[in-house]
């Protein structure tokens, strides 16, 4: 019963995150077509990989006839691999804004690390090792969490700092939304590390916070200053 509830909750969470990342990708695609800004394109790629991450999770849970633990155990490496690849694009955006000279280096290093983590996960789950799927999973989750934290901490600090530094109100609010969004994503990474000690509850909460995190990132993307509406029918004016 508990397993069914968990799968149900996770499915709902992933569908919402899936929808948000799809909307964000489309909005960013249109923004990139308009502005030709490479950073906007990289942010779009982040959301595309988040979409794939969520889709992989969702499909693995939805189609499985096994228990949740086994199902998630098999797919978690691939799914998180997509997220790590997505994060490499966030690292690139951060690098371009904070350390422009090292943009390519940072991107290449994070991308290489993400791919290495996926390869390591596949190897650990293969019959060539004696490690169980659950054990392999735990190792990969912890490495992924550390990598996520390493990428996201400077990113969220940067966005928070910019939100107080920028003169442009729209940019400042967007930066603040991104800062909060990435903070909640960081919580997701931390919750993964807590699983071996505290069980799956912090993870479930972390997954739920993902929805909020992506909502805030989407809010940041869609945020714009209200403009006055021109109307000739306004009767209060003399």
């Amino acid at each position: 019963m508990a397993t069914f509830s968990l799968i149900g909750v996770l499915s709902i969470i992933h569908i919402i995150s899936l929808a948000i990342s799809a909307i964000a990708s489309v909005v960013l695609y249109r923004a990139e077509k308009r502005s030709k800004n490479s950073m906007v394109r990289q942010f779009m790629w982040f959301f595309i990989f988040v979409f794939v991450w969520m889709a992989t999770f969702f499909i693995s849970i939805f189609v499985t006839t096994n228990t949740f633990t086994e199902s998630a155990g098999r797919e978690i490496v691939t799914a998180h691999g997509f997220f790590l690849v997505g994060l490499a694009f966030v690292a690139r955006i951060y690098a371009k804004m904070a350390l422009p000279k090292y943009e390519k280096l940072i991107f290449n290093v994070t991308m290489f690390t993400a791919i290495t983590v996926i390869a390591l996960g596949v190897y650990l789950q293969s019959p060539f090792t004696d490690i169980t799927i659950i054990k392999a999973n735990t190792i990969i989750i912890q490495i992924s969490a550390i990598l996520t934290a390493l990428i996201l901490i400077p990113v969220l600090i940067f966005f928070f700092t910019q939100s107080f530094k920028l003169d442009d109100a729209i940019a400042a609010v967007r930066s603040f939304f991104f800062g909060v969004g990435f903070t909640l994503l960081l919580w997701h990474a931390i919750s993964l590390v807590l699983i071996p000690t505290y069980g799956v509850i912090p993870w479930i909460i972390g997954e739920a916070l993902n929805v909020l995190a992506f909502s805030l990132l989407l809010a940041g993307i869609l945020y714009s200053t209200p403009t006055t509406k021109i109307t000739k029918k306004y009767t209060n004016a003399t």
Partner: protein, 381 residues
């Protein structure tokens, strides 16, 4: 302020979520303790499943309740208070830029609607006043322009005629008279030119021919031009050694020369009878260069200082010393400098002298690549 409130709400939302998380932990701990006290009746897997099941339910309920409350609260405050106020602020900004034809439509049905209504009435009145003022100003400018051109033509003919007379040869008495007429005519032409420039400024039709030029050469030329007049009044004119590597500035040289002429003319006109001095400095700062003209003349009384950049203003003391003049020089100078993206300032003490300065930007503000990238990313989305 409003954006700070929005940020505060988001902060509160995050805070509530963290409390929900903590509640889930506590709930799990309590259930674990309760189940542990039962003893060995349940297996480890059963205990874990029960803890998980209850904590998941309780934690999610607390979590979702907080999220729901915070979201509804944030939504209501945002839609009915913050957004209308932000719209009003945006509206007020547009009004400040004279877009009086715009009307705001707010969704809120409370005091904010009244505030918008009052604002609209105020804006309408301002609009009417502004239209009236603009009409009067246009009529005045048109009159000055037409009259100025009509006066300048005969004055130029008089000037030409006097030159003809001088060429033909005059007696000493006639020569003195002609010189007086010539001086008066030149003063009149200068006065009319000032009127026409001021009218152009008010109509917003002044034409500028911006080009890169060395400002120090303009200063030197202007100083050379006023030296004869300074010599007549025994005024000592000094120029500090200009800094090396002065960057070229994009200016209209004829207009900046005019500014220098007005400042230097004033420094001569309103200087001391004995022991007068004028000092000209050029300082190159990070983004602007500043030209400073200092004299030890009569100074400006404190009560008159606030009016000196206005048009047609002449101080009582200035009038007693120099009856000629339009009171347009500083007004025109200020407008020209501002058109160049610079600013004017002055310091003055009665009977001790005045310091007038103007700045001209010599380079665009350099934005670092990082700042450019941040601004582009956050605005292009």
């Amino acid at each position: 302020m409003l954006l700070t409130i929005q940020k505060l709400f988001i902060g509160l939302l995050v805070f509530f979520i963290l409390i929900g998380t903590a509640a889930a932990y506590i709930s799990a701990q309590i259930r674990f303790n309760a189940l542990s006290s039962i003893g060995n009746e349940l297996s480890y897997e059963e205990i874990q499943e029960q803890i998980f099941s209850s904590a998941l339910q309780e934690g999610l309920v607390v979590f979702l309740t907080f999220v729901a409350f915070a979201s509804v609260f944030f939504f209501v405050v945002n839609v009915f208070v913050l957004r209308p106020l932000l719209e009003l602020r945006a509206f007020a900004r547009e009004q400040a830029e004279n877009q009086f034809n715009i009307r705001l439509k707010v969704r809120s049905r409370n005091e904010i609607l009244d505030l918008v209504d009052v604002f609209h009435r105020m804006v309408s009145r301002l609009h009417d006043e502004q239209k009236h003022t603009e009409t009067v100003a246009k009529m005045k400018s048109r009159f000055i322009t037409v009259a100025g051109h009509k006066f300048r033509t005969p004055l130029s003919e008089i000037k030409w005629g006097l030159n003809e007379l001088k060429i033909k040869g005059l007696s000493k008495e006639e020569e003195t008279t002609v010189k007086d007429i010539e001086k008066t005519t030149a003063g009149m032409i200068e006065l009319i030119n000032d009127f026409l420039i001021a009218a152009e400024i008010e109509d917003g039709v002044s034409s500028y021919d911006f080009k890169y030029a060395q400002i120090e050469s303009l200063i030197r030329t202007s100083v050379e031009e006023i030296l004869p007049a300074a010599k007549v009044r025994n005024i000592k004119v000094t120029m500090d050694k200009f800094p090396s590597n002065i960057p070229a500035v994009k200016i209209d040289p004829s207009k900046i020369s005019l500014v220098l002429k007005y400042l230097l003319d004033n420094a001569i006109k309103y200087n001391k009878e004995i022991g007068g001095t004028i000092e000209i400095n050029l300082i190159v700062k990070k983004e602007v260069m500043e030209v400073i003209v200092t004299d030890n003349g009569i100074g400006i009384p404190k009560e008159e200082q606030q009016y000196i950049w206005g048009n047609f203003f002449r101080g009582d003391k200035a009038l007693s010393i120099e009856t000629e003049g339009t009171g347009l020089g500083l007004y025109i100078a200020k407008n020209i400098v501002e058109r160049h993206g610079g600013s004017v300032r002055f310091e003055s003490k009665e009977d001790e002298g005045s310091m007038f300065a103007f700045t001209i930007p010599h380079e665009k503000k350099i934005i670092s690549e990082k700042e450019k990238n941040v601004a582009n990313f956050l605005s292009d989305i």
